[in-house]
């Protein structure tokens, strides 16, 4: 457990560009604006690199993989271990290849969720259903993540308690909650989210501060404690969640970075979908 640091101490961020096929999944035409999405992506990466000060690794977009920008789903990283997940949707599993390579380059211990056959048959797990708080994991059992997948995660990160919680609202756990600080959980105000929160509170041995935001879209933020010990919070801007911004402003001594992700949210994405956060600072 030497690797346990307060949540948020990251040094690297891995992102993947927005492909031209953005929003064209299952031949469904959505109203997403590719250019806008790419702009927003640019703002996000710029903030991570220049404001927060993370080392940014960008994997080029792949038009063959329209959802590859949701890199969060593809891996769960804690300490120096990266678990390559198995997304629910078959086509997405190819997204892992590039990520796996990057993980290796970063000297992370890469763990596969498992072969298609064997012990983990049928296991599915997506990173956006995993909330790591710095002390423990919560895995949302959702349409995309099942119990078997959670088990593999627990087997991978043995130091930590892995609790399963139902995802009552939204499709992913991180649609309704995210970390807003080392001991702070930001959570949506909806009934489903409350239910999930109650379960988390029941399951945990720790105490978390809970920041409740009125809008679901505001529940997903990206918290990073920068190298200079500054707390950064990337959150949706006022245009996207006018009622929640005041809540963020209650976070004292935070540097708030409003970051738009309206296009991604049309596809069920959120801010944290865009990046894998890693700490490569030696802790020994």
């Amino acid at each position: 457990m030497a690797s346990v640091l307060p949540y948020g101490c990251f040094t690297h961020a891995v992102v993947r560009g927005i492909p031209e096929t953005f929003g064209k999944v299952d031949n469904e035409e959505t109203t997403t604006d590719l250019a806008k999405a790419q702009r927003q992506f640019g703002v996000l990466t710029g903030a991570l690199r220049q404001k927060v000060g993370l080392q940014l690794i960008e994997i080029p977009a792949d038009p063959e993989l329209p959802e590859s920008w949701r890199i969060e789903d593809v891996a769960v990283i804690q300490g120096d271990t990266a678990l390559i997940t198995r997304p629910f949707i078959q086509q997405r599993r190819r997204e892992a290849e590039a990520v796996r390579r990057v993980m290796s380059e970063l000297n992370l211990t890469v763990v596969e969720l498992g072969a298609e056959e064997g012990g983990s048959v049928g296991a599915t797990l997506e990173g956006s259903d995993v909330l790591f708080t710095g002390r423990e994991f919560f895995v949302g059992i959702s349409s995309h993540t099942n119990h078997r997948g959670a088990e593999v995660l627990a087997d991978t990160f043995r130091d930590f308690t892995v609790s399963t919680v139902p995802v009552c609202e939204g499709t992913r756990l991180k649609n309704i909650c995210s970390m807003g600080g080392p001991d702070t959980i930001i959570i949506s105000n909806s009934d489903g989210a409350k239910k999930t929160l109650r379960m988390m509170e029941q399951l945990t041995d720790h105490h978390y501060e809970v920041l409740t935001v009125p809008e679901g879209a505001a529940a997903n933020c990206v918290y990073v404690r920068g190298p200079s010990k500054v707390d950064y919070l990337l959150h949706p801007p006022t245009e996207e969640c006018p009622d929640s911004v005041p809540a963020f402003q209650k976070l004292t001594d935070y540097t708030l970075l409003p970051t738009a992700c309206s296009e991604a949210s049309k596809l069920g994405g959120h801010l944290s979908s865009f990046c894998l956060l890693i700490n490569r600072k030696p802790y020994f």
């Binding site: 457990m1 892995v162 041995d205």
Partner: protein, 996 residues
């Protein structure tokens, strides 16, 4: 009856500050220690030669002293109360069979008690003299420590076997025994002859000759003789039978230890701790394997009663993993914890990631080898160590790499670092048990410092923190927890788990009780009350709580003991002792239940006990709802078609508490001018052996005495309260058996139905309650009442007499009483103006949340200065004709707590009635009737609110909790008023307590 004697002696001792302080700490720390002292005292009085014992005491005292300081003063102030608690406690320790035997001889206990008193006086004198001796004798051999126990045991053994007629002989024996070695043998012989367990006695004799051999598979190994042996050859008798125990230490070494066949677990444990030079021993325990299940050796019970395997193989293990090891005082304690954790890690019980394995391994290396030696380039040295269940070369390299970074770290620092990292592991200190949930899904129950964790595979799927758990129970192979309702929920819920077998269910239950007590409570709970209310196994954690042990640790003042760190190479070997359950493997290795000779007995007791509670609920239910638990009893009853209402626990408690706080807490003196204890024993038609009854009584008494000691100042009042306690005779075994027959399937249903039944039952019970309330004092039937009263009044301070009386009475008072009455708890609270706070203090934050185990009564008592207690065991329910199904015995108890000086107390105060109002409300298991009267007295208007709360339920209901809740609510509702009187009337169905 030695135990009782002991208690008395202690009581007398208490007055003496010198003696007492040491003694008290011991009590709190060690259950048996108390007993030991008593015995010692007796010996000393007679003989000065018993230096050895003294020395033993001295040692213990030293250790205990830290605790003493805390407890000591309190205990001294109310001399009367402590003894009672002790008695109860002692009784607990006795193995079931012993208890029964005791019960047979009613007279015996009394006499014995008397004797002790006399001795006690002497002891006091000696005691002071002894002090000096003790100081010198501090470093006596471990054997000495054991000796006292031995004596006790002997005494017990004697008492047990003896019939009433023999009582006198016992006394003599005791007196003599202390003085002369010869007598003791005689005693033993008597005991053996008398003892129903002929086999054991006979064996002893034979065995003596044979020596330490425990050829006999029978558990009956009696080490008593052996102790004397060691101590003084003179005393040695032929009958000394020694048994060789093998304890696997945490470093993998074997610690052979010869103990008397009859030695209790505590004796062996102390020997081991002594060998280790360990002071902070409360975190540790001895474990043994029965039928593939790892069990903790109960220190208060004889080893032979617990270990089934012919070879006494035990293992020394960490029992309670301190959440924050850095708070441990001594390095040696941390070192032992490290060893345990290394074991846990290697065995896979404590899963770690690769990095953590490496890191922890590197600290182990640093601790054991010191700085990395660059010259030692080979990895060989490292492959001798085991860091993980499966260890790779890569890991070893990592370990070495990390080891290099620890340069300069001392072994103690390395251990500390090891622990700092290990404690964060998610499975640190989690004791896993296989189980199935209500739907038959395989899960794991994890008991830990914070509560109960539920795992499915490796995933945590639920968690019940101790504060959330109201009650823990088990029935047959089912284990239940009752959950405090959440903010949004109205009702308590009960969650049931199915364990592989009865024994594993009991084991989980025990572990939960122990962990809860150790980690969550400030002091161990007083067994009496819990028993009274619950009727279940009497098992309680008797050791120190974490809070107590921490406090005690702060007083440790010795140079850090030298100890040698042994290589972790040995770890692999030592695993034998500690069976491991891996979550991964868990499913495969479901423990099989092996039938022990003991099992049946245990089962009975446990079942019976639990049954009793359900019955309460059942009465009403029986028709309406199927309560599995209750059914068992109900079925029989029903079959009989008798009107028996399932035996229930009816508890009416009237507690009058005045909030006068003039007296400091610690010094709460009970001025009970009127302590009326009227124990009325209600007997069911079923014929019970007298012995049993006696047992119970004795036990309770002892427990009562103990409490004060162990419990901090708060509990004083309790002791008095309880003094009146009496447990009606237990049903005969036959009844128990009948109960057994009940189908298990019903149990499940029970859980679900639980709530309903309770509600139903409420209405019925109420009327009864009221009736009972009134009569309680007067109701008492038969002689017993009178006796107890007198005794009480006279001796209020000296509990011994009470005990005696009580003891006697129970037997004498057979009541035609039908046990069936539904368990009711009626709480009447009369609130009068003034401070609401009185009760508030009583309920510690913890108390409120505490599962049933905790005694509710405490809270009110604590703050009360004056306590009037009247216990009536009235066989009020005569009316009920229960003919054959005496399965459950009903116990009725009324306790009244009154504040010392009450303005409002006066019922007699004349006033003008302004208004009167009656409100009735019902909830799940309580019915509250509120009478509000406003009167004008001398120009002042007084509002008097009298609440009658009937709490109905089976054992599953936490009566204490309910009572505490009721009181709390009353306060909250009327913050401007004060509670002046609480009358608690309990009717409890008694079940046999064969169990621990």
């Amino acid at each position: 009856m030695t135990t009782e004697v002991g208690s008395e002696t202690e009581v007398k001792k208490e007055p003496e500050k010198a003696e007492e302080q040491p003694a008290e700490p011991e009590r709190s720390a060690i259950n048996q220690t108390d007993e030991v002292k008593v015995v010692e005292a007796a010996e000393q009085s007679n003989e000065s030669p018993a230096l050895a014992t003294d020395s033993a005491e001295a040692k213990e005292n030293q250790e205990a002293q830290p605790a003493d300081n805390a407890t000591g003063p309190e205990g001294e102030e109310p001399p009367a109360s402590p003894p009672a608690s002790e008695k109860k406690g002692i009784s607990r320790f006795l193995p079931p069979w012993l208890k029964r035997q005791k019960s047979q001889s009613v007279v015996g206990p009394k006499e014995s008690q008397v004797t002790p008193k006399e001795e006690g006086g002497v002891v006091l004198v000696n005691g002071e003299g002894e002090k000096a001796e003790q100081a010198k004798a501090e470093q006596t051999s471990s054997t000495t420590t054991a000796e006292p126990q031995v004596e006790e045991e002997q005494v017990n053994g004697e008492a047990e076997p003896e019939q009433k007629e023999e009582v006198n002989s016992e006394e003599h024996a005791e007196n003599h025994s202390t003085g002369s070695a010869e007598t003791q043998p005689a005693k033993e012989e008597k005991a053996s002859e008398k003892s129903q367990e002929k086999s054991a006695a006979e064996e002893e004799k034979k065995e003596t000759e044979e020596g330490g051999e425990k050829k006999d598979q029978e558990e009956s190994l009696k080490p008593e003789g052996g102790r004397y042996f060691i101590k003084s050859p003179l005393k040695l008798t032929k009958k000394v039978k020694m048994v060789m125990c093998h304890v696997i230490m945490l470093d993998g070494s074997q610690f052979p230890c010869e103990v008397e066949k009859r030695a209790k677990g505590q004796y062996l444990f102390f020997k081991v701790c002594e060998a280790l030079n360990l002071l902070e021993k409360d975190y540790f325990g001895l474990s043994y394997k029965n039928a593939d299940q790892m069990c903790w050796l109960d220190p208060t019970k004889e080893i032979k009663r617990q270990i089934c395997n012919p070879s006494w193989q035990l293992a020394f293990n960490v029992k309670f993993y301190p959440p924050d090891p850095s708070q441990l005082t001594e390095d040696i304690t941390r070192y032992l914890l490290c060893l345990q954790l290394r074991q846990d890690i290697v065995s896979g019980r404590l899963p770690c990631s690769f990095v953590t394995h490496s890191l922890l391994g590197s600290y182990s290396l640093q601790a054991e080898l010191g700085d990395h030696d660059p010259d030692e380039q080979r990895l060989d040295y490292i492959s001798d160590f085991q860091f993980a269940p499966s260890q790779t070369k890569e890991m070893e390299e990592k370990v070495v790499e990390l080891h290099k970074t620890h340069r300069g770290m001392t072994p103690a620092q390395a251990d500390t670092q090891f622990l700092e990292n290990a404690k964060k592991l998610s499975m640190y200190g989690v004791d896993l048990h296989h189980a199935k949930d209500s739907e038959g899904v395989d899960i794991m129950l994890g008991v830990c410092a914070n509560g109960l964790l539920i795992y499915k595979d490796r995933l945590r799927i639920n968690r019940f923190a101790w504060p959330k758990i109201l009650k823990i129970s088990y029935k047959r192979s089912n284990f239940y927890i009752k959950i405090r309702p959440g903010e949004t929920e109205q009702f308590e819920s009960t969650v049931g788990f199915k364990l592989p077998n009865h024994r594993s269910a009991k084991r989980v239950w025990k572990v939960c009780v122990e962990n809860h007590t150790f980690f969550r409570l400030m002091t161990q709970e007083a067994p009496t009350k819990a028993k009274f209310l619950t009727l279940g196994s009497k098992f309680r954690y008797s050791g120190r709580t974490q809070a107590q042990t921490r406090q005690a640790s702060t007083l440790i003042d010795r140079p850090a003991p030298y100890f040698e760190r042994t290589s972790s190479k040995r770890i692999s070997r030592s695993l034998d002792g500690a069976p491991v359950i891996n979550m991964i493997e868990a499913q495969d290795s479901a423990p099989t239940s092996v039938g022990n000779g003991r099992e049946p007995g245990l089962e009975l007791s446990s079942d019976s006990s639990k049954r009793s509670p359900p019955p309460t609920t059942q009465e009403p239910l029986s028709d309406l709802t199927v309560d599995t638990v209750s059914k068992s009893s109900d079925d029989k009853q029903k079959s009989d078609e008798t009107t028996l209402q399932a035996a229930e626990v009816e508890i009416e408690e009237t507690v009058v508490v005045e909030k006068i706080r003039v007296a400091p807490k610690g010094s709460v003196t009970i001025t009970t001018p009127e302590v009326v204890v009227t124990p009325v024993a209600v007997e069911t038609e079923v014929e019970k052996p007298e012995e049993e009854v006696i047992e119970e009584v004795i036990e309770e008494v002892k427990e009562e005495q103990k409490r004060p000691v162990s419990v901090s100042s708060d509990s004083h009042s309790e002791s008095e309260e309880e003094a009146g306690e009496y447990h009606p005779q237990v049903t005969v075994s036959t009844s128990v058996e009948q109960i057994k027959e009940e189908p298990e399937e019903e149990e499940k249903e029970e859980v679900d139905n639980h709530e309903e039944p309770e509600q139903v039952s409420e209405p019925e019970p109420l009327p009864e309650v009221e009736v009972e309330t009134m009569p309680s004092p007067a109701v008492v039937e038969e002689t017993p009442m009178a006796e107890p009263e007198t005794a009480l009044v006279v001796d209020a301070p000296a509990e011994e007499e009470r005990t005696e009386d009580i003891l006697v009475t129970p037997e004498e008072a057979p009541n035609g009483h039908a046990e069936d009455q539904p368990g009711l708890v009626a709480v009447e609270e009369e609130e009068e103006e003034e401070e609401p706070r009185v009760n508030g203090d009583a309920s510690h934050a913890e108390t409120e949340r505490i599962p049933q185990v905790i005694c509710c009564s405490e809270p009110p008592v604590v703050k009360t200065e004056m306590v009037t207690i009247s216990d009536t065991f009235a066989a009020q329910k005569t009316e009920i004709a229960t003919k054959e199904v005496p399965i459950v015995h009903t116990e009725t108890k009324t306790i009244t707590y009154e504040a010392a000086q009450l303005d409002g107390s006066g019922d007699g105060e004349p006033g003008i009635l302004m208004t009167a109002q009656t409100i009735t409300s019902e909830s799940l298991c309580t019915t509250t009737t509120t009478h509000i009267t406003k009167t004008l007295k001398g120009g002042l208007s007084e509002t008097r609110i009298e609440k009658r709360i009937v709490i109905t339920g089976d054992s599953d209901i936490d009566h204490d909790q309910a009572l505490a809740q009721a009181i709390k609510e009353a306060k909250e509702q009327h913050p401007d008023m004060s509670v002046t009187r609480v009358v608690v009337h309990k009717e409890t169905e008694l079940a046999e307590e064969g169990e621990d």
